[in-house]
């Protein structure tokens, strides 16, 4: 039986249907979590075509790793882990590339094309956050992204980043100091 809409379907059922080859069910998973992935990827990499590619890669990787998903963690946590890993890998890759081929600074690694926001104020607000995050060390900015933009608790952040809670707390404290200094400068 083909379902008309999956919008009201429970997560576990969606996963089962997607595993059974139901394209529409997997489409619903993508629709539900695309904004969450965009917040992680775009806040760390900037609003660019590359960020969109990484976003696609996150869901493609999710599709092929769905058989391994046992449902012990929430699907959102599982997706977030993939997004964080791919984003941090991309940042490392860019750092390597720019250190080898470019004399330009770190800022050139990111392409911010802040667009599609309704007003000038909204664009400025997003720019402030993006600029602040890109000036930070990725290991700190990812914590800020998880806590501030995604609204995760310290425990959830630790789970997603696969770090002990103590490490998350100490990084959070240092990240807060860094961000405060950066925001005051901007």
């Amino acid at each position: 039986m083909i379902k008309e809409s999956y919008s009201a379907v429970e997560e576990n059922e969606l996963v089962r249907a997607a595993l059974g080859g139901d394209k529409q069910a997997f489409g619903e998973i993508v629709t539900r979590y695309r904004k969450m992935v965009a917040r992680t990827v775009k806040s760390m990499l900037g609003d660019s075509v590359f960020a969109e590619d990484i976003g696609q890669e996150v869901f493609i990787k999710l599709y092929y790793s769905l058989p391994e998903f046992r449902g012990e963690a929430k699907l959102s946590t599982y997706i977030q882990r993939i997004a964080v890993n791919l984003t941090l890998n991309e940042i490392k890759r860019r750092k390597r590339f720019f250190s080898m081929f470019s004399q330009k600074g770190n800022n050139e690694m990111y392409e911010f094309e802040v667009a599609d926001q309704d007003t000038q104020e909204q664009r400025e607000a997003t720019e402030i956050v993006n600029k602040a995050l890109k000036e930070m060390d990725p290991k700190f900015s990812i914590i800020i992204t998880m806590r501030m933009l995604q609204g995760y608790s310290t425990k959830e952040t630790a789970e997603i980043l696969d770090l002990p809670i103590g490490t998350v707390l100490s990084r959070l404290s240092r990240a807060q100091d860094q961000l405060k200094k950066i925001l005051e400068k901007l």
Binding site: R34, V41, I60, E121, T126
Partner: protein
């Protein structure tokens, strides 16, 4: 809804950083203020196309390899059958399967070959 200006956003961020508590409200507020992220409109379609097109492509490749294997087995079997027929015909004609009979030299002796080559 009135949107905050950049200095208000900065103040909001800085003040929110002083707490280690629940940040759900902060993230929701930031989103309300326009700090939201999303991919392009056709993002979902692009992802689905990539996944399901690749699957079709992979299954086509698998089909091709399978038919190649079948063709290879048929060619190999035909070859083996031809070799068997050849061996049988050599055995029937020469009466043995020695190296000489393979070369068609079963009737000549070494001395004959030497005299043929040297002319003596």
């Amino acid at each position: 809804m009135t949107t905050m200006n950049s200095s208000e956003i900065k103040k909001l961020l800085i003040s929110s950083l002083n707490t280690d508590g629940d940040t759900t409200e902060l993230s929701a507020r930031l989103e309300r203020e326009g700090i939201s992220y999303d991919f392009s409109e056709d993002f979902t379609d692009k992802v689905l196309n990539k996944i399901y097109e690749t699957k079709v492509k992979v299954s086509r490749e698998v089909d091709f390899v399978k038919s190649l294997n079948i063709a290879f087995y048929r060619i190999a079997l035909t070859g083996v059958a031809a070799i068997v027929v050849l061996l049988i015909s050599i055995f029937l004609m020469e009466g043995s399967l020695s190296f000489n009979s393979f070369l068609g030299l079963s009737d000549s002796y070494d001395e004959t070959i030497v005299s043929l080559l040297t002319g003596n």
